[in-house]
């Protein structure tokens, strides 16, 4: 078996110019399969993100009869499958900046999950943290800054900024300072943000959660962006890229092996068994196609830094390509089993 591996490598080396050319084609094929997936799934991920940013999958819940929902109940919705963030504003305080008293702002005392529901790029609840919108950047606020505000009773309070986030989708362009507080009492409304694929299920579950008569309003729905990413993913063209890729690689290898039919017949005549010949095909496949294709795909992935959704689609597509490639040596053996050794040698 070692001799079969050594012979396969010596044969590749003895025709290295051809081998390098084929390696180049294989690496481009691997890269093409990856790029196709990255481009298409990346576009789907972008649409999904736009939908999320547009609040397409958020709900504002008000209790039966317009009553304020419970703050604890609102926070607890986070436990539902598909809910990305849930929280509410317990109190809104009109205020002015201590250093610029002519600038109005609103100070929101919110439950810990509110920031996560209001800002699409935040993960996790933020207990006792202060989040401000990017509108405040022009005033020089950054993480760790201390900001003073004058409340309606004329007293000045100073709080430390935990995070300056992008513009919150549901707070508009107002200057709003949100600080998290333990959930007590009620909230003005419960804001619930759901993952796109679970949006309808979450919407249905909210009625059961808050009881009959609950008012559930879908917020900032942009119908032009409404689409199900799963539908996009299941219909994507790039999921068939592996078929095209493996056909290209199979054509390369089978053409290469067919041109060397007499050579393989000679190995058989010299005493190589079927297993040794299969091993030679496998080594040829690994060196000439498999590894270069992996390298090409890796470079494409490295250059594009795909997101989580794209990475999982890539994993599936490249695994399919790998499995298809692994079957190519069997194709080689089928080709050579149809002709007797002596005929192959005499016909050469």
């Amino acid at each position: 078996m070692r001799l079969a591996v050594a012979e396969a490598l010596r044969n590749i080396w003895s025709a290295r110019v051809v081998a390098v050319s084929l390696m180049l084609v294989a690496s481009l094929t691997g890269a093409a399969v990856a790029v196709l997936t990255i481009a298409e799934v990346g576009r789907i991920a972008l649409v999904t993100k736009q939908q999320e940013a547009a609040g397409a999958f958020a709900f504002q819940v008000v209790g039966p009869g317009g009553n304020r929902p419970s703050a604890l109940g609102c926070e607890a919705i986070r436990a539902l499958d598909g809910v990305v963030g849930a929280g509410g504003v317990m109190q809104t305080i009109p205020a002015r900046f201590a250093i610029q008293p002519d600038v109005d702002l609103r100070v929101l005392s919110a439950t810990p999950g509110f920031a996560e529901a209001a800002w699409v790029d935040l993960d996790g609840t933020r207990a006792a943290a202060v989040v401000v919108g990017s509108e405040f950047e022009s005033l020089g606020l950054t993480r760790g800054s201390h900001v003073g505000y004058i409340g309606p009773d004329g007293t000045t309070k100073v709080i430390e900024v935990d995070l300056v986030a992008d513009k919150a989708w549901m707070l508009g362009s107002e200057r709003v300072l949100v600080f998290a507080a333990p959930p007590t009492g009620t909230v003005e409304a419960c804001l619930v943000r759901a993952s796109p694929e679970a949006a309808s299920a979450v919407g249905d579950a909210l009625v059961g959660w808050f009881g009959e008569g609950t008012s559930i309003q879908e917020l900032l729905v942009r119908t032009s962006l409404m689409s199900d990413p799963q539908e996009f993913l299941s219909a994507r063209i790039s999921q068939y890229g592996w078929i095209a890729g493996s056909l290209v690689l199979a054509a390369i290898l089978v053409g290469r092996w067919a041109a060397r039919r007499a050579e393989f017949a000679l190995y058989r005549l010299l005493g190589f068994r079927e297993r040794a010949l299969t091993l030679m095909f496998v080594v040829d496949l690994l060196v000439v196609c498999f590894l270069p294709a992996q390298l090409g795909a890796t470079v494409a992935i490295g250059v594009s830094s795909p997101d989580t959704l794209t990475s999982s689609a890539l994993l599936v597509d490249l695994l399919r390509l790998d499995v298809a490639m692994a079957l190519i040596p069997l194709l080689g053996m089928l080709i050579f089993s149809n002709r007797s050794t002596i005929d192959a040698l005499k016909g050469s």
Binding site: N11, S14, A15, L270, G271, I342, L345
Partner: protein, 206 residues
Amino acid sequence: MQLVVTDLSMGIGGRVLFEGLDFHAQSGEMVALMGPSGSGKSTLIGGIAGQIPIRKGLVAMEPSEAAIHWVFQSTPLLGRRSGLDNVALAAELRGVPREAALEDSRGLLLNLGLVGRLEVPSYRLSGGEKQRVAVARALMSEADVILADEPTASLDPDSRAQVLRGMRRAAETGAIVILATHDRWVAEQCDQVIELLAAPAEGGQD
């Protein structure tokens, strides 16, 4: 090593090429198979190797586990590999380490007159040089039986003589060499000549 052919009949399709053939050969012997085209020389070689079924009779080897090596009129070589590599492979298949295999092969090829051609890719060698590489490979394989089908056809007299010298050397090392040829001079160099008569009908394999 002994090869015994008893009352052998072979044919192609419905056509009988020869019947009642008897001969025997032992280690160190060169046997020439002579006869016109279509008389069944190649078929007989295929029958001895077990590649072509026999109709009647017996081909027996003693011991029965014999290593057989083929040499054809234009023996295929590993085209991109050097003659040296081609020959060394036969030794490596016997378990000889690579370096020793190369060293032995070098000596053998130089003896067969391939001076300065050892590292040349096989596809660049002349027909005579290729045949000498093929014979060297047969020698290096240390096969018990070498079956050579027209190994000197279309070679110039010098190359023909060198190929024959290689065959003789293989016989001297203990192999039985069975050699199909049209060439009377080649047959005269062998220890035994089997004459096959023209088959009754036209055509046939040869």
